[in-house]
Symmetry: C2
Subunit: 200 residues, 2 copies
């Protein structure tokens, strides 16, 4: 089982975090994003969208962090992380969409712009992030976990770029419920932190 | 069963398209996006992210078009559209991520900027769209459907904003495989078209 990885990618970190939590050994293949290795063959042939992570398990090749989490949970992680009951499954999937759209083009892009020179429209990033943080704060003000009263793939998918929002200059100080939720994820057995890009 | 809807939203259209294909009657509740009804209560209370679609089925309330599709397929649509086998399910989920990120911030945003005045960074929209179209063209050059050699939720999730890309000023003329795939979706029994925003 192999993960094409960039150390500071929150999307890659989701896979490393979840495989650590469920104690699944995984081989890491570093891709040099800073030198555009993802924009050239052979990586480009593996994922023509030129995005990390990419994951291999035997002949299975998958891109997209949420899709990889779904695969891992269905094949190795059991029902608890991603149940098949329609409403429960859909509740978790909602956060995959939020992670792919609002988080990627909000706090993740703010961090990428500041530390990796990603081109970004600051007004859009701020608008997307503000609405996301307010909505998430409201959601978590009456819940310990995003869905189902227990940790699920929703928490794994949302965690890395929310926890690293301050690295993009976005303070979580006003968002007490979000900060408490981050603390709960950090307390999960098997939790591993994403390396800080600020300290690098 | 009720859909909070905006006629020209491709994300809403996914739900109308899929329920039409599987012959599921659904009540439409129009939300006046052009007059910011989605930014105020009561809609804002239904989805604090202030995004359409929102879907209700009895006490179940869901946001995010892909999550709603997952719910409908698991509860009403059978195995064919969204199977539970881990690799097959994950292959389809890959396109939910692409639809939420690359499509929403590429061709969907180009169309929204041109016709609804959405603020957009044109350079980003073009960069995201170009890479998406090239990758999708390559993927579809050897396939009739996005995954599993049959129509699945992946096709439903990717279709509306790809088919309406020309309304955002993005030509599909150079992308023969994409245009043929659009034609195949349009030929599905139960297919319904999204109203043209250009003709409006």
């Amino acid at each position: 089982m192999r993960l094409y990885d960039f150390s500071w990618s929150g999307n890659c970190h989701k896979i490393k975090l979840f495989t650590s939590i469920i104690s699944l050994p995984i081989e890491i293949v570093p891709i040099d994003l800073l030198n555009a290795e993802h924009l050239r063959p052979p990586f480009q042939d593996l994922n023509p969208l030129c995005e990390l992570p990419v994951f291999e398990d035997g002949t299975t090749v998958l891109r997209d962090s949420a899709a990889i989490l779904v695969y891992l949970a269905r094949r190795y992680g059991g029902e608890a992380w991603f149940p098949t009951e329609p409403e429960e499954m859909a509740q978790i999937c909602q956060w995959f969409g939020t992670a792919a759209a609002n988080v990627n083009f909000g706090p993740a892009l703010a961090r990428g712009a500041r530390h990796f020179g990603y081109p970004a429209d600051n007004a859009m990033v701020t608008r997307v992030s503000d609405r996301l943080f307010l909505a998430l704060e409201k959601h978590l003000s009456s819940r310990e976990w995003l869905e189902l009263r227990r940790p699920t793939l929703a928490d794994v998918a949302m965690f890395p770029y929310m926890a690293s929002a301050p690295e993009g200059g976005l303070s979580l100080e006003p968002y007490e419920a979000i900060r408490h939720w981050i603390g709960r994820v950090e307390s999960l057995p098997g939790y591993i932190a994403m390396p800080s890009v600020v300290a690098a």
